[in-house]
């Protein structure tokens, strides 16, 4: 067990723990904070796996953008979830059972496919570091070559624009809206 392993297991525990918290805390704001925690630790995992750029994006965009947005929304809708009652115990149990069964399913699939755990020809860590680096990713993203991602990249940018416009138009206050808050 080397230091990487130790770091990995510690990080994994952190991810799992905050994930469990994120789904089990009833308070929405708390759950959002737990989610933020989980995403942070995932960014750490990405660093461990030499995907530095992904980690950076994770922190900057995901946490800095999305989760903050979630938090804003929670604050905007003001009631912080109090009015939403707790689920019926049977439903909670069912959800647990479902999740466990699903987890079992995933693990079983993993088990069935364990053949991939043959030792692969490991690329050199340096090469990996370069691959996860900004330069390589940038080249790939904007390359028009057959293995490039130029077209998807452009489409995603379009999609983002569309989402932006859509979000604004949906969330916009309609003219003559009398007020806010649930009835």
């Amino acid at each position: 067990m080397n230091i990487t392993d130790v770091l990995f297991y510690a990080d994994a525990a952190l991810i799992l723990g905050s994930a469990v918290l994120a789904v089990s805390l009833r308070h929405v704001l708390h759950a959002a904070l737990a989610l933020m925690m989980a995403l942070f630790s995932t960014a750490g995992l990405f660093l461990l796996l030499h995907a530095e750029f992904a980690a950076l994006v994770q922190v900057l965009v995901y946490i800095g953008g999305v989760v903050i947005f979630i938090v804003y929304t929670i604050l905007l809708t003001a009631h912080l979830g109090e009015e939403v009652p707790r689920s019926h115990p049977a439903k909670q149990l069912g959800a647990l059972a479902g999740a466990l069964l699903f987890c079992a399913l995933l693990l079983a699939v993993l088990w069935a496919g364990r053949a991939w755990e043959v030792p692969a020809a490991h690329a050199a860590d340096a090469a990996l570091a370069q691959a996860g680096g900004v330069k390589g990713i940038g080249r790939r993203l904007l390359s028009a070559a057959p293995d490039g991602f130029l077209v998807p990249f452009e489409i995603v940018s379009l999609l983002l624009l569309a989402a932006l416009v859509g979000a604004i138009s949906i969330a916009r206050k309609p003219a003559g809206d009398p007020g806010e808050g649930p009835k």
């Binding site: 469990v20 789904v23 989610l35 796996l49 992904a54 009652p85 987890c103 993993l110 979000a167 309609p174």
Partner: protein, 101 residues
């Protein structure tokens, strides 16, 4: 640290997401669960890229795409939440039945 460990971790996180989606009633809780599930997927991508792929860059590229799409999705979803709130709808999914067939 090996591939299997990463995959098991991802599976567990995904299962957490599933649990959260099934259990919670607040719509934002459910969105949070979705984020968790997507996160698990990203872990898988990076792990495969790291341990297996002949083309490690692609893993990161996909993660970037996922994040981009997630932001788009979240933007719209949260806009819907705000719009619902504006129209005095409860944010409780068990009471959101207006679209039933």
């Amino acid at each position: 640290m090996n591939l299997t460990a990463c995959l098991v971790l991802a599976a567990l996180v995904f299962a957490c997401g599933v649990f959260g989606m099934l259990r919670n009633r607040h719509i934002i809780n459910i969105l949070i669960s979705i984020e968790l599930m997507l996160n698990a997927v990203m872990i898988n991508f990076i792990a495969f890229a790291h341990f297996r792929a002949a083309d490690p860059t692609a893993g990161s590229v996909f993660v970037i795409f996922i994040i981009a799409l997630t932001s788009a999705e979240m933007a719209v979803a949260l806009a819907v939440v705000i719009a619902l709130y504006r129209q005095r709808h409860p944010l409780d999914v068990e009471r959101m039945k207006r679209l039933h067939g």
